[in-house]
Every structure is written in structure tokens, then in C-alpha cells.
Amino acid sequence: MSVLPSVQVEGLAKRFGQIVAVDRVSLAIDANEFFALLGPSGCGKTTLLRMLAGLELPSAGRILIDGEDMAGVVPNRRPVNMVFQSYAVFPHMTVADNVAYGLRVSGVPRAEIAPKVEAALAMVRLEGFDERRPEQLSGGQRQRVALARALIKRPKVLLLDEPLSALDKKLREEMQLELVRLQQEVGITFVIVTHDQDEALSMANRIAVMDHGRILQIAPPDELYEQPNCRMVADFIGTTNLFPARVLARADGGIRLEARGIGELHLPEDGQPGIEVGIAVRPEKVRISCDRPADGLIAVPGRIAQLAYFGDYSHVFVDAGADVRITCYRTNDRRRQATALAVGDACWVSWDPADCILLTE
């Protein structure tokens, strides 16, 4: 049984004069998926979202929503609704009028609107706020109004443009859970734009990483983190220790490499001898010890350059030769453990060769 993708984008491009905002993007988003467009600011993710909403016209390419071509379909006729970054709650209307707006302009009879507004407000946990005015609401509450206002239209796809960027940290974490709960509850495809990787990783089923108008990788969060396909993704998602390296030869069902700061090593991967590659290893996979680690691990001697204490874990920065700084996360799972390390101490950092990510691009 083939299920039609909720959103299908083919060769979509957008130019503003000389600037290419979105560069021939193709992707498919499944029904009921929580999909994130992640990238640094200016990477074209918002432009892509606005094209889905019909607020920008593509320079090239096609958009299909629920199998229907959206070319020439004006925003008010598209089966999508958007939650704007500024929320765009209508300031001269009450909360109830805001939520009812989409139904009212579509000519839904008044008697049918009231119960739906009630239900929508209950869904975002804003019962009893009907008669409030937007200026009496906090940022989080305004966001909920914007959500209710969009969801009441029962769109095929809900578009969210940086929905959490204006909230403080605690509220943001709360809303992340809330959004996931809502998405499961209403069973609508969510497409969220964000520059915050934690947001994308914790909420989305799949993430598209964008840069300079192009999609670099589309993958589920864990795959994106553990198996990035290029340096840019490895660097953008989480923190990475990246070592430039060169493939020396194929040997023993793998390759031998010469990496700056590590020396020679053997990885069970494949690569053309002579090519320049990158070896990435995540800081939490790196262990730190005073004694020389066991054989079979990649081990580098160094000196502790800096410590950053975060309570539940610490960041340890180790200098291993000129211009080689290795970041290592250490869980503080024992009281007074972190005190054992001090800046200037000689130490070893080590990790399993299997934790190395080989990056050819």
C-alpha cells in the first residue's frame, strides 16, 4: 500500500534578484510526520516554508500538497496553515475572535464556530481565555492562540516558522513537549523551521539540514547525529572533534589513514588511497584518563587546557599537540569526581575506532 506523501517538493528554487535563497530543493514529507527544516539563519529554510504556504512564488520547481499541484493556488486556498514567528495574533481581536477568524472568513455558520473555538482553546490549554485581548497575554499564551487559530482550520499540513525562538528556555522546553503531544493528538503533518538543533533533534521524526539554499542531508535525528554525511552537517549538529586526514592504503578489510593530531590509524571503512578526508568523533564518545588506555583504542596524550563545569557533566578541552584541541564530555556521575582533573594536568584521551565518523565531503 503506498501512502501519498503529504508534501512533495521537486526542484524547488527561489531567487531574489541575484541572491539564490532556495536552490533546487527536492524532498518528500510523509503524512503525519513531524518534519524539521534545520539550518543557520539565511540558509533558505523560511523561504522554503513560505513557498509551501504560498506567501512566496517559486522561481522554479513544483510543490504538491496531498498530491495536488499548488502552482497558481493562492495562500487562502491552500490546505496548509502557518504559525508565524511573530505569532501575528490580531491585536484588535479577542482570543476567541482570533481563533474563530479562519472559520468566519470561510463562511462557516456562527453556531458551528463557537463549539469549535471552545475545543481548539481546550486543545492548547487556554480554556477561559476567550475574552482576553492579545496584549494581556504572555508570549507563550500568544503562541498557543496562534496554534489554535491555525489548527482549527484542520489543515493537511501545519507550518511552523521558528515557533519557539521568542520564548525563554524553560517555556521553550515545555512547548517542545506540547507541540509533539499536539501533533500526535491531531494527526496533522507538522513542518517546523528552526535554527536550534536541540529543538529539531528532540521533536522531529526527520530533519532536513539546509545550508546556502541546498539540502545537505535528510535523516532521522539519531542518524543525523551519528552518521552525518558531510563536514557541514557534522559540525552543525552537536559538537564534533574533526581531524583532517589522508587515506594511505587499503589494508585488512579497511583503510589505513594518517590523521593530524592522532597519527596513523586503521578504520573499517573504504576510501581511495591518497584522498583527503575528515575524521569526526563526538565529544561524549571520548574518554579521558590519567593512565595509558588499553590497546585497540585510539589514544592521544595531551594536557588539559580548559574545564567547563555544567553540573551534570563537564566539558574538558585537551591540547594534544600544536593546533589540536580535543573536546571531551565527562558525565559527573560521582560526587567530587570532577575535582580530580585540573588545568595543566597531563592525561590521555581515547575512543573506540568504531566511534570515528569518516567524512569524505
Binding site: 504556504a53 506567501l55 487562502n76 502557518m82 501575528a88 491585536p91 472568513v105 491555525a150
Partner: protein
């Protein structure tokens, strides 16, 4: 025990004596003449220099003066028509300048300020020349005979409306319009439901400005009115030439009252939509 007064802080200007005196002097200078004008409209004296006693005679006289009444009616008619038309034109212009980018936009914005900075006398002469040159008919029945004056008033007041409305729109979040369309509203619905309510305080302020400008305009009206048409400022001017009688005071007081009434109504209208 007497409390010692605290010294005024560095920014507590309202507690400084010299500043208070200055404030009183300013208010006196601005409002005393108006207060005296109103007071002396009730003065029971033909020469109206010394207070003789209270009377409403001059209101009765002013109301019985057909040419004064005609001038008053004309002024109000011109004011209303030119306010409505210049508010519409000004708002449309402001919207166009706010929403679109087009070639010649800076030039248009510059030209917009022209009727504001141009000396009124020049504009009056120009309008007179225009109406003479085009052979604009002069012997028309009321209210068509007010046409040239109305056109003149619209010409100098709509830029004020445009500037006020433009300033209001500068604070408008365009995402509101996008949200409205996204939720299913068409262009017109979006304009009526979202843009217009936001614009309203600007429209009212601009309209009031246009109304005030029109009510008391003398120079341009003087040049554009035919020999038969009389407006209130021109009538007052001709009356004052034969001495400031209490009738002039009475008529002026009524005009002040009308203006205040309009302002109060406008502020009332503005209140429910005061949100930004």
C-alpha cells in the same frame, strides 16, 4: 515637627519653580486669548472693550444674520466634503507608498510634501490661475459653487492625511496580513478585517487634521472662492474690518464648540481600536 521637603531630584523637572512658572506662562499665552474671546461673546456691549454684563443677544443676532449663517454652512459643507475625499485619497496614497516598490517612488514621496511646504499664497494664486484658465463655471447653484474651494482644500490637506496614515502603517506587522490570507481570507476581507482596523487611528487623526485645516483656511479659500461664495473665515475677516463686534465672538465660539465636538467624537471612535 515640620517635615523638611526633599530636594528635587535631577530629573524631577516638574518640581522646579522656574519650570512651573514657564509652564503657566505658556498656557496663559496660548489659551487666555481664546478664553477672553469666548467670555466676551457674552458681553452686553456693542463696542466690546469693557465687560458690561451677561447677555445671549449676540448669539441671537449672529443666528439671525443670513450671510453669517450662509458662511457658516458653507464652511462646514466644504470641511466635510474635503475631509472625506482627502482622507480617502490620502489613505490610498499612504497604502500604495507603504506596500509597493515602484520606479519613481522617492520622487512621489518628495512631491507629496510639496503642498505642505509650498507657501499658501502661491498655491492660492496657482489654483486661481488654474480655474480661470480652464474656464471653470462660476454661476453654479449651491453646493456646486463650492467646487473650486473644495478642490483647493483637498489639494492641500490630503498630503497631511497621507503622512499621518503612512506613519501609522510603519508599525504594522505584515505577517498579520499574511496570517489573515493563510487562514482563508481574500484580499478584500484581509483589508477590511485586519488592515483597516489597524489604520483607523491614523485615518481619524488625518481626517481631523484635514477638517481643521479646511475650517480655518483663509488664503487659498480667498483665491478660489467666486464673488458670490462666502466662507466663515472670509466673513469674519470682513466683519472685523468694521470693528470686532460680539457677533464675531459669538460665531467664533460656536465654531470652537463644533471643533471640540468633532474632536471628542473622533477620540471616542478611536478608543476601542486603540490596541497596536
Amino acid at each position: 515637627m515640620a517635615k523638611r521637603r526633599e530636594r528635587a531630584g535631577p530629573l524631577e523637572y516638574s518640581r522646579k519653580l522656574w519650570l512651573r512658572l514657564w509652564l503657566v506662562a505658556t498656557l496663559l499665552f496660548l489659551y487666555a486669548p481664546i478664553a477672553i474671546l469666548i467670555l466676551f461673546s457674552f458681553n452686553n456691549s456693542r463696542r466690546n472693550i469693557v465687560w458690561q454684563g451677561f447677555t445671549l443677544d449676540y448669539y441671537r443676532k449672529a443666528a439671525g444674520d443670513p450671510s453669517l449663517l450662509e458662511a457658516f454652512t458653507n464652511t462646514l459643507t466644504i470641511g466635510l466634503i474635503s475631509t472625506v475625499i482627502s482622507t480617502v485619497i490620502g489613505a490610498l496614497l499612504a497604502l500604495a507608498l507603504w506596500r509597493f516598490r515602484f520606479p519613481g517612488k522617492p520622487a512621489l514621496e518628495g512631491a507629496l510634501a510639496l503642498p505642505i511646504v509650498i507657501p499658501e499664497i502661491c498655491m492660492g494664486v496657482a489654483l486661481l490661475a488654474f480655474f480661470v484658465r480652464t474656464g471653470w463655471p462660476t454661476q453654479l447653484p449651491w453646493p456646486l459653487n463650492l467646487g473650486p474651494i473644495v478642490i483647493g482644500h483637498i489639494a492641500f490637506s490630503f498630503p497631511f492625511v497621507a503622512i499621518v496614515v503612512r506613519a501609522r502603517m510603519a508599525g504594522f506587522d505584515r505577517a498579520l496580513e499574511e496570517a489573515s490570507k493563510d487562514l482563508g481570507a481574500g484580499e478584500w476581507q484581509t483589508f477590511r478585517n485586519i488592515t483597516l482596523p489597524y489604520m483607523r487611528p491614523g485615518l481619524i487623526a488625518g481626517g481631523l487634521l484635514a477638517m481643521t485645516l479646511s475650517l480655518d483656511d483663509f488664503v487659498i479659500t480667498f483665491f478660489t472662492s467666486g464673488p458670490e461664495t462666502l466662507t466663515f473665515p472670509i466673513k469674519v475677516y470682513s466683519m472685523v474690518r468694521f470693528g470686532a463686534t460680539p457677533e464675531v465672538n459669538a460665531a467664533s465660539t460656536v465654531l470652537i464648540a463644533v471643533t471640540i465636538l468633532f474632536t471628542v467624537i473622533a477620540m471616542r471612535l478611536q478608543r476601542p481600536a486603540a490596541g497596536t
